[in-house]
């Protein structure tokens, strides 16, 4: 009898613990738990976080040393080391002016990563609001917004970026704007399409039937249900944005010349591709690794945010 009691008591406790555990976990905590199970996505996230940490570290170093290290290792030309291959002293070798590529890559992280991520976030907010309004209310509002978006879409993104930068002048903020504006219609279209597919689902009607208002329905019912494609698209677009920044730098209207932007290193290396492969390969690999990590994180998030794929 007593044995039974103790075993029952033992059974009860863990069950309770599990139950309260379930209750306290929200949607995001749950998504995080599922995200961690995806190895590749976790690796991608680690890489991205590492790059963000590197970028922040260089900013702090510059601030603490008044750009001493930046001037000494990143900017200063040393023509005796011109196009030097990888060695112990310069692990990734040197570029056409004898500057250490590793240092230039490390100091270049901030441009690609910050401008890439911030510009897409900005585009996502603008495009998201426009797309959600268009998709949810349809009718003339939808027509108005989407026709304007179509006009934007008809201009190649690079041409628009060049136009914006030439009109407003070079500079980080203008560069950010020129990268982000062409992405707005792309994201708006995707948000609109997902919102339209979700807003006619029965649970939205059911929410109305218990007296929910438009704002509540949009934020709690419609948007969480169409996050998946939006997140994947946004993470892919960060990659595109990083490439666009590189392209603009090549044209001389992106990040200004001595600054070690990844794309401009890559583009400068084009001339020396036959003699010094490492100058183009290594920045190329870094860009690829960054974009790949972003895509992996996007894929992982998509799976993690879908409660149906739980466990």
């Amino acid at each position: 009898m007593s044995e039974k009691k103790t075993s029952a008591a033992m059974c009860e406790k863990p069950v309770d613990a599990i139950v309260t555990g379930v209750q306290s976990r929200g949607l995001w905590a749950d998504a995080w738990r599922r995200f961690r199970k995806d190895r590749l996505a976790t690796v991608g996230l680690v890489v991205i976080l590492f790059l963000v940490a590197v970028a922040i570290a260089t900013l702090i170093i510059d601030w603490a040393t008044h750009n001493a290290i930046y001037d000494q290792y990143v900017i200063k030309q040393n023509l005796s080391m011109k196009l030097a291959g990888p060695s112990l002293e310069h692990i990734f070798g040197c570029d056409e002016y004898g500057r250490d590529i590793l240092f230039r890559l490390i100091w270049g992280t901030r441009y690609s990563l910050f401008i890439g991520i911030v510009s897409i976030l900005f585009a996502l907010i603008c495009g998201g609001v426009l797309g959600a309004v268009a998709g949810f209310y349809s009718g003339w509002i939808d027509n108005l917004i989407m026709r304007v978006m179509d006009i934007f879409l008809s201009i190649p993104s690079m041409v628009m970026a060049i136009a914006i930068v030439s009109a407003l002048g070079t500079g980080t903020f203008n560069l950010l704007l020129s990268i982000s504006v062409p992405q707005i219609p792309r994201l708006a279209r995707i948000v609109r399409a997902s919102v339209m597919s979700v807003k006619d689902r029965e649970f939205v009607e059911a929410a109305r039937a218990v007296g929910a208002g438009d704002a509540l329905i949009i934020f709690k019912y419609v948007i969480p249900n169409c996050l998946a494609p939006i997140i994947v698209q946004a993470s892919l677009n960060v990659g595109t944005a990083i490439l666009n920044i590189a392209g603009l730098s090549f044209l001389g209207i992106g990040v200004e010349a001595p600054a070690p932007e990844w794309g401009s290193i890559l583009n400068a290396a084009r001339t020396y591709m036959r003699d010094a492969w490492h100058i183009s390969i290594i920045p190329g690999l870094v860009i690829m690794l960054t974009v790949l990590s972003l895509n992996l994180v996007g894929d992982g998030l998509r799976d993690a945010l879908d409660p149906k794929l739980k466990n």
């Binding site: 379930v22 218990v210 709690k220």
Partner: protein, 324 residues
């Protein structure tokens, strides 16, 4: 006085193929605490009626031509969107046909019930959550499952959750739109039994939309048979089942298999429902009715009394005669 009164309701859908006459001059009454069954075949505008009461008709195509829906001395068709939002859920709640799609897949069931509560009551999140647990227990789901997502529940359980959401704010009227169609027979019986018990406990009135006459017999006090957007027969369940007076009602009954009768084939109603964009001029049922004559094709019959409140829309009852 009636608790909910529908007067002369006429609803159209404007589609590319023409104007669909969904509801044609419908009058209906529902009394406090009673269950009214609304029976009819697919496309008879049963759901349109429910959505009309909730004012959830599709905005682009649905059009209410005329009529009144009076609930507690207020015409719902004249109410503002703001007023309507307060009525939905708190006064009139609806249970949808398919529990698989009527729950939000990204919110836990607890959050969804709590939200229905928060829409109408100014209370903290924790209180709403407690209410959600209470409601789950009420519909027979352990309160521990409050933090689980809809996909972790079976069909019958999901319908219970939907019912819990509908009842969370103690509505006075519950509209159940084929609440058991998507469920298998065993679960169907459980859910209906539970709804009946809850209805009595909370003193809710109910409009039960179904095409299953067995469900009506077990759960309803009154029944209205609807055909092509028109009430063709109305009465207490007992009267209508005992003395079905409209040929369509009769057709419905003869097309149900009976356990104790040995018949080789069921007798279906011949033909199809008329195209709702081109309804016949006279009696809407005349194209399928074995008793139809010239007058049926020309004139539109009114509702004739059979006995007491029992009425039917057929010329054969004009002089107090019976169908046979």
């Amino acid at each position: 006085m009636a608790f909910l009164e529908i007067k002369d309701l006429q609803v159209d859908y404007a589609t590319d193929e023409g104007v669909v006459h969904a509801l044609n001059h419908v009058d209906l009454e529902l009394h406090q605490g009673e269950t009214l069954g609304l029976v009819g075949e697919t496309g008879a505008s049963k759901t349109t009626m429910a959505k009309c009461i909730m004012r959830l008709l599709p905005q682009r195509t649905g059009r209410i031509h005329s009529g009144k829906i009076i609930y507690q001395d207020q015409d719902l068709l004249q109410a503002s969107d703001q007023e309507m939002r307060k009525i939905r859920g708190a006064h009139i709640a609806m249970i949808f046909q398919d529990p698989m799609t009527s729950l939000n897949p990204v919110l836990t069931v607890g959050e969804q019930i709590a939200e229905a509560v928060e829409n109408h009551r100014h209370c903290s999140k924790a209180e709403a959550m407690r209410r959600a647990e209470e409601m789950l227990e009420l519909v027979g789901i352990p309160a521990q499952r409050v933090g689980e997502y809809p996909h972790q529940f079976s069909g019958g359980m999901k319908q219970r959750v939907v019912i819990a959401i509908a009842l969370a704010c103690d509505p006075k009227l519950l509209i159940a739109d084929e609440p058991t169609t998507a469920l298998d027979v065993t679960i169907q019986a459980q859910v209906l039994e539970m709804m009946q018990a809850l209805k009595e406990k909370l003193n809710t009135s109910m409009l039960l939309i179904t095409h299953d006459l067995g469900v009506v017999a077990q759960n309803c006090d009154h029944v209205a048979v609807i055909y092509a957007g028109e009430i063709v027969e109305y009465g207490t369940v007992r009267d209508v089942f005992k003395r079905m007076s409209h040929p369509y009602t009769r057709g419905l009954f003869t097309s149900i298999p009976q356990v104790n009768a040995d018949v080789k084939r069921l007798i279906p109603i011949p033909g199809m429902m008329p195209d709702p964009t081109q309804l016949p001029a006279g009696c809407k049922f005349c194209t399928r009715c074995q008793f139809a004559d010239d007058r049926c094709r020309r004139e539109h019959p009114g509702l004739y009394p059979v006995e007491g409140i029992h009425t039917a829309r057929c010329f054969r009852l004009e002089k107090g005669g019976s169908l046979t």
